[in-house]
Amino acid sequence: MLIRYILKRILLMVPTLLVTSALIFTVINLPEGDYFETLAAEMQAQGEKADMSRIEFLKKEYGFDKPPVERYVYWVAGLLQGDMGYSFEYQRPVREIVGDRLLLTMMVSFATIIFTWIVAFPIGIYSATHQYSWGDYGLTFLGLVGLAIPHFLLALVFMYFANIWFGTSIGGLVDPAYLNQPMSWAKLRSVLEHLWIPVIIIGAGGTAGMIRALRANLLDELQKQYYVTARAKGLPPGKALRKYPLRLSLNFFISDIGDILPSIVSGAEVVAIVLSLQTTGPLLIRALQSQDMYLAGSFLMFLSFLTVIGVLISDIALAILDPRIRLQGAATK
């Protein structure tokens, strides 16, 4: 039964991904014009002259004279062979460009996730066990403030004052003096000095969501009979909580994998732009703005793929943990 379920889910991924790819391709090609026009306009703003015959040449070189369907097929065929195409702007293969930034992005993302869990966990449990207390309100409030302030502004203000008060260099993840140096303790310290700003700002938003989810799930469990029974038979509250409801309420962490996977590799775009982090987020935004279509398209596709994989993993994990899920949706009308 379980194997059949997994097989079925994997088979379902194929049409999902196909449709996604078509959708992404369409969305990216929707805006009028193409990268080369953007380039020409940008050069003009600078005072430089774009060589139109060269632009025509490039357009042909990259197959822009062909109909969209043909380009789509070409792109998908490339993707299937692991070829993510070529970035016009960087004049390099997409895989290399994304690869260059992946490590840094993942570092920021993991730090953020850890921060989120460390903060959200105790608050969530406290809020659930002390529902409607001022502590509950206060902590939820704190969690929400991070969500409520637009991140781009928060990032700028943090960065400015970190520079004024602590002398942290502005933007980036390391002081420029260490940029081309091998890893050392001093460099690591410099990284940590910079890392806390994006981690807190990006983490703040996620924390609020996690506190809320944890609180809601725990509240659900706390009202169920088994917990009441456990308490009734004299289990101390802490142990009773740890033993069952907490474990069950953690299910949502598993179902969250689908969201977490892509966010690890894309990072928070807007904050990264403001803080001048060389992560993949700004790369993607910039590619979309300049219509660098293979970079934007292939990276988006990569993210979608990760989501689908994430959802698959979480579904399988849940199915193993909870047999009811396997049977859900089987009934037909």
């Binding site: 430089e48 293969p93 260059d100 260099s169 502005i170 933007g171 403001v274």
Partner: protein
Amino acid sequence: MTQRRPHPTRRTALLLGSAALAGAGLPRFAQAAPFSGTAIDSPFFVDRVASGALPPVAARLPSTPRIIDLEALGRQSGRHGGNIRMLMGDQRDIRMMTLYGYTRLMVYDLNLDLVPDVLESCDVEEGRIFTLRLRQGHRWSDGSPFTSEDFRYWWEDVANNKRLSPGGPPQALFSANELPIFEVLSETEIRYSWKTPNPVFLPALAGAQPTYIFMPSGYLKQFHERHAPKQELAQRVKENRVRDWGALHERLSRMYRPENPKLPTLEPWRNTTALPAEQFVFERNPFFHRIDGQGRQLPYADQVTLTIGTSSLVPAKAAAGEADLQARYIRFDNYTFLKEASKRMNFDVKLWRRAEGAYFALMPNLNAIDPVWRDLNRDVRYRRAISVAINRKDVNKVIFFGLAKESGNTALPESPLYDPKFVSLWTQHDPALANRLLDEIGLAKRDDDGIRLLSDGRRLEFTIETAGENTEETDILDLLKQDFLDVGIKIYPRSSQRDVFRRRIVAGQTVMSAWAGMDNALVTSDMEPDALAPTSSAQFQWPRWGQFIETSGREGERPALPEVVELVRLYEQWRVSSTRDERRAVWLKMLAINADELFTIGVINSTLQPIVASKDLRNVPDAGLYSFEPGAFIGRYMPDTFWFDRPKADQQESKA
């Protein structure tokens, strides 16, 4: 579509003209004399010279280096050492180093004269035969000789190679649609001869974005089908994961954007960092051909580092002292912030002037699709009414602290073609006159809101589009909005993205747009007056007419206004004119027509550009003109002569 031709300059054209006049005269650009003193090397290379990795400095310089007499320029001779830190927004910005280095075959000097730089000299006969002479012993940054072979390689194996240049050689190499005869006279002499004069040739070589007519053949031959062994080349193509040798060659040979650290260069600093990077380190070129009066090989600074980051953070980073020399991404409205920071930090903020004809100009689209608007835009009375309705003083006061100049889109006072008449013609604030002119056109009828009505009953209201480059544009438009309302015109400012903006104008969907005026307003009568006549589809006042001229009538529309036809005629006359007086007359006529007809309505020019420079950095001028062309932003002011006046210990540290 063809490339817009670069501007020729006064001296060249002067030479061409006088040559034609004098008949036999043989004008010559020359300044080099063999250098007899002792060349001084930077301590930067001590180890390398000692180990034999580099020859001593005397052997690295050409026999006739270019001597920069700093005292004559009012600057100080300096010391070697230090690292100039700069901030950039994008890794494509490393081309700024090609601008700041400003090493060209010919360059504009501080007086806007065209002088040889890489070339030792250049002879021009009859304005059509150009003999270029290289410096004996000049070498590329990798030590390989820079000779006429590099010119031959470019001409025969690149410019005339179907794979590498499918469109053929660049426009500056064409005169009357014909290519020159190319001759190699010796190892250091090359000659280009056309049948007709080619006034754009030398200025193209001196351009901020120059036409390169040479390439490092020693390095590039290994990637060229004609020179590299087939198997090896195939192997290299495979290693680099490119389609064919042509793509490989193209990718590795970009001289304007020095992305390939292995590509030899003639610039003062050479890139040592491969893409991608957050920081690019440019190191002094050991074979650079300029020296100061004492014989110190330039550049003074051993390194330049470009740190890449979000461009909007550049002012903040500069204020935190993270840049030693910064103009890019710093705007006038950052001045107060930077100035306050400079009191705490080790930098100064200098105010240079921007050299556009207009920092902000309105461009009525003479090729708008809507016939009513098109006819209105083509009515000179309407354009004059728009212009005199603008309260330029207010704009200057509110946005530029009254420090800019209220002016039409015309030559700046620093240009020999400057005429105060062109500045003030139709730029006074006179709503009464505007009302009278509008009434005269037949727009006297108004609706209940006091908005004038068009001939077909629509309100005289339209959108002015901007490319949304900065908030100043929207602010100026917001100020203009009230001015226009006072004469019964309603405008709606709207900003869009650059490429959308451009496309809409060319398609005629835009009635009026806002953009900068002439790119280069430091004009001389010998520069090409292409900005004053329809010559390109990128001219927002007459995109379709420009396209017509640009494509020799294949696309676009034939200019329809008599004044514009006259401008085209004058422009063509300039292209074949023989004396400088005649050219000056053409220029003045064209400037006069533009000032009177207001095809572009300039609002403000000579706006200020803050330059952040370390307090220790000497020779950075306190005042300067900042423009892409002529002079490559700060390139004309020769950053290779900027030096750090710091105790030794600090320099070591900053090198780290």
